[in-house]
């Protein structure tokens, strides 16, 4: 796992970004002229009420969606101009995902779930196996490799998901309510782990959360309301 340092240069830059959805013919302006700079190596928490546009913003940063207007630049790539296929490839090389509901594939073991992003690389079987073992060791679950998600607790599932997020050594980890489905103890374990990924491995983390305790772990806290950063 490569260590990255915070050098202050922006890894995420949004310029005058708007995002409009349509309900029938009625436009809903979720983000309106938003600017954002996220320095490389930072751990940022984005908070805000439901419907404020947090998830939309996260989707844009993660390359899951494209803005209606404006420019989204992440790790040097202008995502606004990429095709679906280019975005998919870019995500596989650049982004690590942590989801609220863990999103592990239930029919695959922990190790097989962690291996998924590596199947999009040129790595051979032995290299993949070694990387999977390292990632699971980082999250403290090397002894749960062959367990299926249903055989793990919620906290363990989320740690497997974090192992999957870091296994391809992404430049940035995006986390959508990573503690939302966890009890306090498991949530704290996950947050400690994310803090470790940020501080020890230098991973940039951009996290959306409702949980004030989670936000406190972050070095920067931002608030989004009605599509604008406060």
């Amino acid at each position: 796992m490569a260590t990255e340092s915070s050098n202050g240069a922006s890894i995420v830059t949004l310029k005058d970004v708007t995002k409009t959805f349509y309900r029938g013919k009625e436009p809903i302006h979720v983000l309106a002229g938003l600017d954002l700079d996220v320095p490389s190596g930072s751990f940022e928490a984005l908070m805000g009420p439901s419907g404020s546009g947090k998830s939309t913003l996260l989707n844009l940063i993660a390359g899951l969606d494209r803005p209606t207007s404006g420019e989204v630049t992440v790790a040097g790539a202008n995502l606004s101009r990429m095709s679906d296929g280019q975005l998919a490839k870019w995500r596989s090389q650049t982004i690590g995902f942590v989801f609220q509901s863990f999103n592990l594939i239930p029919v695959l073991t922990a190790a097989q779930n962690v291996e998924l992003p590596l199947l999009l690389t040129d790595l051979g079987g032995a290299d993949r196996k070694s990387r999977v073992a390292t990632a699971l060791r980082v999250v403290g679950l090397e002894d749960r490799m062959d367990h299926y998600p249903r055989q793990l607790s919620g906290g363990q599932e989320q740690r497997v998901a974090i192992a999957r997020a870091i296994v391809n050594d992404p430049k940035i980890i995006v986390a959508d309510e990573p503690t939302g489905d966890l009890d306090r103890k498991s949530a704290d374990d996950v947050l400690t782990l994310m803090d470790k990924l940020n501080k020890e491995l230098g991973k940039t983390i951009f996290m959306v959360t409702h949980d004030p305790a989670a936000a406190e772990k972050a070095s920067v806290q931002r608030k989004l309301d009605k599509g604008a950063l406060q």
Binding site: N59, R91, Q93, N103, L108
Partner: protein
């Protein structure tokens, strides 16, 4: 590419729907394979019935022995050629009389079917070395004794060893034995004395057809040209194997065609079943698919993955269908020989080609049924992964 084990395990996890869909596909594969096995059975029974060094001679204009008549003079003309193997039984030429009778089925159903009776001279059996008595004895020449082919022995009232049946009132024929001819269509006939059989229909002076044993298979063209050149003789000369092959084409084509129509109708239902199952799979796994897309798997990878899953599903169905269809090899099946309008009994015959074509048919069903759900899966947005 999405790992194949993802699809295999997904199918295994949804055991009940997977099994139900596979059974639907299995049923279609069963019908599809059975129709072809039946056609193959007919081919084996009819197309293999003839020999290449033997010709069958009919009156010109006749397609079948049943509608042909030849007189004694013509039989003599057939002998007068150097291509005839005169050392063969009957001097290389035998004239036979065939007729079709209606007989009641012995199963008590009251149903009737047609049976072909063949009257042959004393050397008739020797002329066909593949024919052998399997029980009882050969009929004595010049008597009312007959033997019955193994395939139909006991299927009809009175047509079984030790029993009698009538072709003409008060002239019973006595079955004295059973014969077999290696599964060919002759095995579905009743053989008796030529004079007895033709006397029973009042055609004492003529035969239906003649069989001529040639010195070699290559002598056929010369012999045919010589016999057909004489317009007064008015003869039609065919290789015996070609004659039966032509007969089999009509019957096997009919059976295979009928089976194919049923299989295609069933396959529409099975494809709808596969489509429903795969649609359910896609609907239940929207978040999983979204997650795979978020991780970087392309639309094509998702499409391929779900098409593969549909193929696996159809292969499970094909395996079940083909397993059960093997049991049909134990079943024999009475059907109509459209050339003689008499019943022949055939067996379902499985060949590797049938197994392969049935599997391809199943996969095609899976692909067609799975295409729309797979396209739906490929269109799922990676944003779906984010929905809680």
């Amino acid at each position: 590419m999405v790992p194949v084990r993802y699809n295999i395990r997904s199918l295994l996890v949804r055991k009940v729907t997977t099994f139900a869909t596979a059974i639907g596909i299995a049923l279609v594969v069963f019908v599809f394979a059975a129709a072809q096995m039946l056609g193959e059975g007919v081919n084996r029974a009819l197309a293999n019935s003839g020999r290449t060094d033997t010709v069958i001679v009919l009156r010109k204009g006749s397609d079948a022995e049943l509608s042909s008549t030849l007189d004694g003079e013509r039989l003599n003309m057939l002998r007068s050629n150097s291509a005839v193997a005169s050392s063969a039984p009957g001097g290389g030429v035998i004239g036979e009389s065939v007729l079709v009778i209606t007989a009641e089925l012995a199963d008590g159903s009251g149903g009737i079917s047609n049976v072909l009776l063949r009257g042959m001279p004393a050397d008739g059996m020797k002329f066909r070395p593949e024919a052998r008595i399997v029980s009882g004895r050969a009929p004595s020449p010049g008597t009312n004794e007959v033997i019955v082919g193994k395939s139909i022995s006991g299927r009809f009232e009175g047509i079984a060893p030790g029993k009698t049946f009538e072709v003409r009132r008060n002239r019973p024929l006595l079955v004295v034995g059973e014969f077999e001819t290696g599964g060919t269509s002759y095995q579905s006939e009743v053989w008796g004395d030529l004079d007895t059989i033709r006397a029973s229909v009042g055609r004492e002076s003529v035969v239906s057809s003649a069989r001529v044993r040639l010195t070699s298979a290559s002598a056929f063209e010369g012999y045919r040209a010589a016999m057909e050149a004489d317009k007064r003789l008015n003869l039609k000369v065919m290789r015996e194997d070609d004659y039966f092959k032509k007969a089999s084409e009509q019957t096997s084509g009919f059976l295979a065609g009928m089976g194919m129509v049923i299989a295609i109708l069933f396959s529409i239902a099975a494809m709808i079943g596969a489509a429903i199952t795969m649609n359910g799979a896609v609907a239940n796994r929207t978040r999983e698919i979204g997650t795979l897309r978020a991780l970087g798997f392309s639309r094509l990878a998702i499409l391929t993955s779900f098409m593969l899953e549909a193929i696996f599903l159809s292969l499970i169905g094909a395996a079940i269908g083909l397993l059960f269809v093997q049991l049909l090899a134990l079943v024999s099946f009475p059907t109509m020989n459209f050339q003689t309008f008499s019943e022949i009994v055939i067996r379902f015959a499985a060949t590797p080609a049938i197994m392969i074509s049935s599997t391809i048919f199943a996969v095609a069903m899976g692909l067609l049924g799975g295409l729309a759900p797979a396209i739906r899966a490929a269109r799922i947005s990676p944003v779906e992964a984010m929905r809680g």
